[in-house]
């Protein structure tokens, strides 16, 4: 059953990614160059809708959230490396897979590279765990906890910032 849900969810998500044209090097690198913000329009719309829905489910007691740990060291170094790699590859892990489905063969090299990157990370993980993940480690932390405010306030402020960005995108026609 779980496997079936995974497959169906993936197919639907793959269709949405393809229709929004985000499975393209030109769109991804276009966003990094501030030329075409399509992927940000897709991603930020998705984040706002799911944030509202998921926190609603949480408030109704229908789901439990398990938050990932915050480590400034891991997220600063990891995020920067991810950015460099993403810029070179032009696809993120999920979109690389979808891009192959669209016929973009360069993404296959990226997938091969990502498998090697995963194996490499597994090899050096003990070092990362001891030296990098411990830097600025705050454990399971959310913005609302850190600020001591309601998660709805965080969502509303975030949504307003995103709507201002959307307004700007449309005004600049990117």
């Amino acid at each position: 059953m779980t496997l079936g849900y995974g497959l169906i969810t993936g197919i639907l998500f793959g269709i949405l990614l393809q229709k929004a044209q985000v499975l393209r090097y030109d769109k991804q690198v276009g966003a990094m160059r501030f030329l075409d913000m399509t992927i940000f329009k897709f991603m930020l719309s998705s984040i706002i809708v799911s944030a509202i829905g998921i926190y609603l489910l949480k408030d109704l007691g229908l789901i439990k959230l398990s938050v990932k740990g915050t480590s400034i060291g891991a997220q600063l170094v990891g995020g920067s490396l991810f950015g460099i790699g993403w810029g070179l590859l032009g696809y993120c892990p999920g979109t690389a897979v979808g891009a192959v489905g669209e016929g973009r063969l360069d993404a296959l090299w990226g997938i091969l590279g990502m498998l090697c990157g995963a194996a490499l990370y597994a090899e050096v993980y003990p070092f990362m765990k001891a030296k990098i993940i411990t830097l600025g480690n705050y454990g399971k932390l959310t913005l609302q906890q850190a600020l001591g405010i309601s998660h709805w306030l965080v969502i509303v402020v975030f949504a307003l910032i995103v709507l201002a960005m959307f307004y700007l995108f449309e005004k600049k026609n990117v």
């Binding site: 969810t9 990614l17 997220q75 192959v100 669209e102 590279g113």
Partner: protein, 134 residues
């Protein structure tokens, strides 16, 4: 449905709804990076590398090891591939292309050059994603 392009705001919002349903029904958030780790473990095992001594592949009850497959996320990743293919084929948007247009304009038409950079970009991107917890 058969239009080549959907409004990215609408498609994104629908992806958000899909995520909500997924979290509600199966308790699963969207992700792909962890699958690369598990598949890497499977490949290592298949070429004779013993992963049972690797801390990363074995910690947290082997959550990141080969033994965790098949799982929800593997099927999700396979689904994304399939969904993109169905969508592209049904709207006549499927195109075999080894060098993206923007790349070609700046760096030329060599698929090898593009392949090498894509490969190393992939290595760095996934390493970074795993370190950052993605």
């Amino acid at each position: 449905m058969f239009k080549k392009t959907w409004n990215p705001y609408l498609a994104g919002a629908l992806a958000g709804v899909l995520m909500i349903l997924s979290v509600w029904i199966s308790g699963k958030f969207f992700g792909t990076s962890t699958t690369f780790v598990r598949v890497a473990a499977v490949i290592e095992e298949s070429i004779g590398i013993d992963t049972s001594t690797n801390v990363h592949f074995t910690e947290k009850k082997g959550k990141y090891g080969a033994g965790a497959l098949p799982d929800w996320q593997l099927m999700f990743v396979f689904g994304v591939l399939l969904g993109a293919f169905i969508s592209a084929r049904s709207s006549d948007d499927f195109k075999i292309q080894a060098v993206p247009d923007m790349w070609r304009k700046r760096f030329g038409a060599s698929p090898a050059k593009r392949g090498v950079v894509a490969f190393f970009g992939g290595v760095v991107a996934l390493f970074g994603a795993r370190l950052a917890g993605g």
